[in-house]
């Protein structure tokens, strides 16, 4: 399954910006589940500096700077990604009880496990709020397998939480999301991650895209696809396995991964500091086109 993705971010300013410094995490990853065949970043106005580097979590970062006066900044990432569909083929064989998975990451004995052990700790957006472990344990009774537990947790979040785009912002505390059982994909991902980590399991935040289908009989609108977020659990001797609590599915042929981290703050798709500018308007459009 191959997709072409076009992701545009546009900032419009009230006043002139004399200088901006930015960092973008917009290049799709190449991993067990997908291959990024090509990627190109177009920036308007033209940059006077652009460099790439790989961050702590192995995401590709594009650092750039614009020193010419401008009132509008447009960053467009165009990429082609192939989903391998084979990622979870052998997952059925993995029936490791969750406690065993927990004990393995608690005592990292390889460099890889050491890196993974970082994902069992609470982070800025995934604090262990009151009652969260109890909530999580309901899905992890006795020696249920890790995968089954995660599926159950994902389904519970899907059924018990209400999808409500206006309700939260990035600064809404997790405790409010938990108490009100409302939010968007980002909140659900953070919540699920906090649940899993509170039990000692390694879970990470995934940012990416999801393909949307138009209602039957209608044509797909341009820019209607969206940036998305879900979570991923580390299964020892297998690897990272993704779960999308917003849609109650295990990503397979419609999810493309951009970046991973402890939580949202590690994977911000585009961030920047501007000099001047005044009030700003932000517009994001994503197109995800099936190529074959």
């Amino acid at each position: 399954m191959k997709y072409k993705i076009k992701h545009s971010t546009t900032y419009s300013y009230a006043d002139f910006v004399s200088l901006c410094q930015n960092q973008a995490r917009l290049t799709p990853k190449t991993n067990r589940a997908q291959v990024c065949h090509s990627s190109r970043i177009d920036i308007e106005p033209p940059v006077n500096y652009l460099q790439e580097f790989t961050d702590y979590f192995d995401n590709k970062v594009t650092a750039f700077e614009i020193a010419t006066q401008h009132k509008k900044l447009k960053v467009t990432m165009t990429s082609e990604v192939e989903l391998l569909l084979s990622a979870n083929i052998n997952l059925a064989d993995t029936d490791m009880p969750w406690q065993e998975a927990r004990d393995i990451v608690a005592k990292p004995n390889t460099y890889q496990l050491l890196k993974i052990s970082e994902f069992i700790l609470p982070s800025q957006y995934t604090p262990f709020v009151q009652g969260i472990k109890e909530y999580a344990l309901t899905s992890f009774l006795a020696d249920i397998s890790l995968i089954c537990g995660c599926k159950d947790l994902m389904a519970r979040i899907f059924h018990e939480f209400q999808y409500d785009p206006g309700f939260t912002t990035i600064s809404t505390p997790l405790s409010v999301v938990f108490a009100q059982k409302r939010g968007v994909c980002q909140d659900f991902a953070h919540f699920a991650i906090a649940c899993l980590r509170s039990m000692g399991l390694a879970a990470r935040y995934v940012s990416g895209y999801i393909e949307t289908m138009p209602p039957e009989g209608e044509e797909k609108l341009e820019g209607a696809d969206a940036t998305h977020a879900w979570f991923s659990v580390f299964v020892p001797r297998f690897g990272w396995v993704d779960f999308d609590p917003t849609n109650n599915v295990m990503p397979n042929d419609q999810h493309i991964t951009l970046a991973v981290g402890r939580d949202f703050s590690d994977v911000t798709p585009l961030k920047g500091v501007v000099f001047g500018g005044g009030t700003q308007l932000l517009d994001v459009a994503v197109d995800m086109i099936r190529l074959e």
Partner: protein, 839 residues
């Protein structure tokens, strides 16, 4: 016990009183060794001093400290003790070895943590504890590996009852106190010159040379390297220290807003434009150093700095991420880490750490309690026992206990006698290319206050005895000059911000001087009026009063016709008082002094010691002004004015010798000239534009000339022909007369030549055009033209003055835009969110 066994004269009473008492474990009584030669020499020297002598030295130190004191975090003064601390050669050797080993070890740990993490994998450092420490900076991994090496660190040590030295804390980010130590040493050498010589105290100069050479190592191949000291600015409690170090080493002092990143290089926004920076000595913590890349957005961050470090275009010292070395996750295991990394036992350890479950006893009085996650949390095992009990029930593995340190004490001169206070020594370490150097002295400090003296704490200079014969033959080796660059290139770099402050300092100095002159003359005139109440005097005072209260002739120089009101002597007094001491009134003397002092703090690293002393005195005067009230006598006001103008003159005088133009000092002169031009136009505009009786006019002219210190010149030059016209000619149109408007404009024109040109040759810049216009109008105007009246008003004079004012304003605006405008603040973009469109 201190044994006086070296054929010393009898100990003075003040000393033996101290030695006879027991003070816990004391440096002098318990730790001075069997043969305390190091103290003997000092006491031998001090033996002839009485208690009064020592007190008078303490007072001398206090006086020396008054100016430019480096204050503590909460803005309190340190007390410097007249008695130095003496280290024996043997003790110092032990300490030095220990510190070197510890620094080597920390350096190796830093390297491992930010690359291979072998120590985490082997479990010697707990990954969980480290990962949760907010000094562990993940951005460090994407930086070049040679950016990990420590450069300048400090370690706090104390002596345990056993006589061993123990470590209280490592400072691997921004080691504070070096400035304090230098200052302390300078004073100690002055007050105790003879003792210093006799005790063969090891000099610290060599270390400071190493410091500079160490920095030069990074840039030795460059032609025009620039080194800056990065501070948070005057709000930082340690700003004085940063400024002191900047002056001491000659590195430019900058704030985050002075720096910008372009094309992956860090640049200083200077008067000359953007200049590349090669080395940053950072005195701001690394968690908030890059407001773009780091999660914590900080106003003190420089967006893009880490990318520049990643590119290798700038060296940041100490390296990014070094704060983690002080975290308990690493500190608790240093002994083991030493065995592992150095194959040596650790010489200098900290008080023992205990995990919560290891502490079986419920008596925690000899322990302190801390958190692996939150470095700020420290609790006393005895006083905070309840709180600790609460905390450890939840997540015991997040916390630890540590043995409570038992500091040794040393004698401090407090209230006429020696008092024992617990002491800690802060030692400074430099990691050079091939070696580790320890500063042969330490900041010996005690936080214990006494009943009658409040302050930040007490400090002692620390003297390390060198063995005598070596010292005599050891010459002080001057630093070999390895630099190839042209030194003159380096001097001229000042930030646009500093340039702007210099300009304003010039304006405030001139404004203050002028306002004082006007006020003096005003007070003179209205007190005189009480004695000789004739009509002419009454008219002069009434006009001066109106011009002052409506701010025509004082800042902000309101341009309007004077509204005369009925003269009242009580109102005169009130107006005079308001101009002197009303903090709410713009342009009052107290306000101008306040601004003046602020501007000079901003550029204090460029000021000489004497200039800074005068600023301290000006601040004292501001305090005096705050406390006077309306009932003050005119006479008392005059004497305050005399005092302040004396200080301003002294400050001006102290600047003269330290003002090379290349450092931007010409801007101070420029500010001064601009302000004076404004004053001359406002004075003549407000007081001389109305046609009056000749005697009345001359009375006013006399007042105006006195305000501009030109009365005598005018009298001598024009004798019996004095008129408004001659006054205007002298004050406005005479190109040769140093107090005239035209002279100021000519000077400004000359000073503009020091500004870097941003235009092509042959084209005049906008600010120069404005000055040229004003100059020309002065040259082509005749005095009779200005003097001419129309319906009782000198319209031409009003228009002339108005145009000059317009041009001066244009000049200042262009200056701001072209040369000082780099002060734009950074804004954070609304970072894109996940699920922005829908999900």
């Amino acid at each position: 016990m201190y044994i006086n066994n070296n054929a010393m004269p009898e100990l003075p009473n003040w000393l033996s009183l101290y030695l006879d008492k027991r003070h816990g474990h004391d440096e002098l009584a318990d730790h001075s060794g069997l043969n305390p030669e190091h103290w003997d020499t000092l006491f031998n020297r001090l033996a002839s001093l009485t208690a009064e002598d020592v007190s008078s030295r303490a007072i001398e130190i206090t006086q020396l400290l008054q100016n430019g004191n480096i204050k503590s975090e909460n803005n309190q003064q340190w007390h410097f003790d007249p008695l130095p601390f003496m280290f024996s050669r043997a003790d110092w050797n032990t300490l030095e070895q220990g510190i070197k080993q510890r620094t080597l070890l920390l350096n190796k740990i830093q390297k491992d943590i930010y690359s291979e993490q072998k120590l985490l994998l082997s479990g010697q450092i707990s990954p969980q504890q480290l990962y949760q420490n907010n000094h562990y900076l993940r951005e460090g991994f994407s930086l070049p590996s040679d950016e990990l090496k420590l450069f300048f660190t400090a370690v706090d040590v104390y002596r345990a009852p056993s006589g061993e030295f123990k470590v209280l804390a490592d400072h691997c980010q921004c080691p504070l106190g070096l400035g304090l130590l230098l200052k302390n040493r300078i004073i100690a050498r002055r007050v105790m010159a003879e003792e210093f010589a006799e005790c063969n105290v090891q000099q610290i100069k060599e270390f400071l040379n190493f410091f500079q050479e160490g920095i030069n190592e990074f840039i030795h191949y460059m032609d025009d390297p620039r080194i800056v000291i990065l501070t948070q600015g005057i709000d930082d409690p340690n700003y004085n220290e940063h400024a002191f170090l900047s002056t001491y080493f000659g590195y430019t002092l900058v704030q985050s807003a002075d720096l910008t990143v372009r094309n992956g290089e860090v640049c200083l926004k200077s008067l000359q434009g953007l200049g590349k920076i090669n080395v940053i000595l950072r005195w701001i913590p690394d968690q908030s150093i890059d407001s773009l890349e780091q999660t914590q957005y900080s106003l003190h961050g420089i967006p893009g700095l880490l990318q520049a470090v990643r590119e290798g275009s700038v060296k940041v010292l100490n390296p990014f991420g070094s704060g983690v070395l002080s975290s308990p996750a690493i500190q608790c295991n240093l002994a083991q880490l030493s065995e592992q990394l150095l194959q040596q036992p650790l010489l200098l350890d900290c008080p023992k750490y205990h995990s919560i479950e290891d502490v079986k006893s419920s008596d925690w009085s000899q322990l302190v309690f801390g958190s692996y996650k939150d470095p700020k949390l420290t609790l006393d095992g005895h006083l905070d026992a309840d709180k600790i009990k609460q905390l450890i029930t939840k997540q015991p593995s997040d916390y630890y206990f540590q043995d409570k340190p038992a500091f040794s004490s040393a004698p401090f001169w407090d209230d006429g006698k020696l008092i024992a206070k617990p002491v800690v020594f802060r030692c400074y370490v430099l990691i050079t290319e091939n070696d580790i150097e320890v500063l042969p002295s330490a900041l010996c400090f005690s936080y214990q206050n006494s009943a009658n003296v409040k302050g930040a704490g007490w400090l002692k200079d620390t003297w390390i005895n060198t063995s005598k014969d070596i010292d005599l033959t050891e010459p002080s080796v001057p630093t070999p000059i390895k630099k190839r660059m042209d030194v003159s290139l380096l001097e001229g770099v000042i930030s646009s911000r500093t340039a702007e402050h210099l300009f304003w300092l010039g304006r405030y100095l001139e404004r203050c001087e002028n306002t004082i002159r006007i006020l003096r003359i005003f007070i003179d005139r209205y007190t005189e009026l009480a004695i000789y109440p004739d009509l002419i005097r009454r008219s002069t005072v009434a006009r001066l009063l109106a011009a002052i209260s409506a701010q025509h002739i004082v800042y902000p120089y309101v341009e309007q016709a004077i509204k005369l009101e009925e003269f009242d002597s009580a109102v005169s007094k009130q107006t005079a008082f308001a101009l002197l001491a009303d903090e709410l009134r713009a342009g009052s003397i107290i306000n101008t002094l306040h601004y003046l002092a602020n501007a000079s703090v901003q550029i204090q690293e460029l000021l000489s010691h004497d200039s800074r002393r005068i600023i301290d005195e000006i601040n004292e005067q501001v305090k005096v002004l705050k406390h006077i009230n309306i009932n003050i006598s005119s006479h008392a006001m005059q004497s305050i004015l005399d005092k302040v103008i004396g200080l301003i003159m002294a400050f001006n005088g102290s600047l003269v010798d330290c003002m090379p133009n290349s450092n931007g000092w010409f801007l101070l002169e420029m500010g001064r000239r601009v302000e004076r031009s404004l004053q001359i136009t406002s004075l003549t505009g407000a007081l001389l534009t109305q046609e009056l009786e000749q005697a009345e006019e001359l009375g006013l002219l006399e007042a105006v000339l006195s305000c501009q210190v030109s009365l005598v010149t005018h009298k001598r030059r024009y004798r019996m022909y004095q008129s408004i016209g001659t006054g205007l000619e002298l004050l406005l149109l005479d190109a040769e007369y140093p107090r005239s408007l035209l002279f100021q404009l000519e000077q400004i024109n000359q000073l503009c030549k020091h500004l870097p040109t941003k235009r092509r040759q042959g084209v005049i810049a906008a600010h120069e055009k404005a000055i040229l216009l004003s100059k020309t109008s002065c040259y082509v105007t005749e005095k009779d033209y200005l003097q001419r009246t129309d319906a009782g008003i000198r319209k031409q004079l009003i228009e002339f003055n108005h145009n000059i004012r317009l041009n001066l304003n244009t000049f200042c605006d262009v200056l701001l835009l072209q040369y000082f405008s780099h002060t734009q603040t950074a804004n954070k973009l609304n970072w894109t969110n996940i699920g922005q469109a829908q999900s």
